[in-house]
Subunit: 213 residues, 2 copies
């Protein structure tokens, strides 16, 4: 699954209606350029592609007052909402060794109800356990470990990552169960996007920064 689609759908959905540059800023606000491939090109491509596929509707808009080319605003369709929740549930549930997907899921999990988020995270823990069993069976077969030499370190690294990832997830489950954060249907949601004109307090200036020389 492409993490870009999930992120872009999530961002557009929280705005109700958003243009590409807004989405770009939201993703930077979430730090997504640090832990995923959320680059301008990918974002604009995803918007266009999803509009073509009916997950978004595009509205042509007059050029902004602040200069720059005319913008296109997007809105999530019903089909897009369905796809969004499908991707979000998958991101939280499945262990595919792609931490960026899980991160996106964390950033958007509050769009679900608390109980569902908890259930998905529990399923994730089971999924990690399953993966762990499968690989340790495949890669430590009858002739014992050690046959693999240094190649075995790769497996050990992944198993270690899976284990510590599971431990962290259990901590998250505890925090959520303890009442942390505001989930869907629990009143005023946390504002996870930037309002029009609001500046990003966490801007790291990774993009568009002219060469410092």
């Amino acid at each position: 699954m492409s993490v870009i689609r999930l992120l872009v759908l999530g961002a557009v959905r929280q705005h109700g209606r958003a243009h590409g540059y807004q989405v770009r800023n939201d993703l930077e606000y979430w730090g997504a350029h640090e832990w995923s491939n959320a680059k301008p090109g990918s974002i604009y491509h995803a918007l266009k592609q999803m509009a073509k596929q009916g997950l978004l509707v595009a509205h042509e808009t007059a050029p902004s007052t602040a200069g720059g080319p005319p913008r296109t605003e997007y809105e999530v369709t019903e089909q897009g909402t369905e796809e969004y929740f499908r991707l979000l549930r998958e991101a939280l549930t499945s262990y595919d060794q792609k931490p960026d997907v899980f991160s996106a899921g964390l950033g958007l999990m509050v769009d679900l109800e608390r109980e569902e988020a908890l259930a998905l995270l529990e399923r994730r823990l089971a999924s990690i356990e399953e993966w762990r069993k499968a690989v340790t069976e495949y890669y430590v077969p009858e002739d014992g470990p050690g046959q693999l030499g240094h190649i075995g370190e790769i497996m050990d690294f992944w198993v270690h990552s899976a284990d510590t990832g599971a431990a962290w997830t259990r901590g998250l489950v505890t925090r959520i169960r303890g009442g942390a954060y505001t989930f869907a249907g629990e009143g005023e949601p946390f504002v996870g996007v930037l309002a029009e004109g609001e500046e990003n307090p966490f801007a790291t200036g990774q993009w568009n920064t002219p060469d410092l020389e």
Copy 2:
């Protein structure tokens, strides 16, 4: 950096001369299809592209006795060897939150001398420390944490991953320092690729498996 190039260069180099299908099998032997995007299409593309760029030389070969289309064999050029070591050193050193790159580095680290591998891993630990300091400064600014709401969980997840990854790396350093594995210049190297015709004991049958229905 593309992990495919590193993996393909490493595989071809260990064979001396290899065709695409051999590389494909090596990567499956290393489990690369589990933890990276090492799919047939990517592998063949990387071979062709690197041949075009002078990192590999291509030799047309008569069709194999075992059927199938005519094969192309590749050899790493001097320029390719340089690029290989550049990528390998980078994979072991830099912390870019892409576990697949590091895994590839682990699988190929024995092409370096023991002391250099240790030095690179130490640099990696420093690089993680540096990254950690940077993000905790950026994302926990004057107004304190908690301002971020559930978005803060993303950062916490990454910091946790970095910390446990560093701990694992320290363990690896200890093992290597203690004499584990055979590095470059230490005699008969570990056979990390499959000989012609040898079957892969760890085949998981992820590729080419006909639909089970």
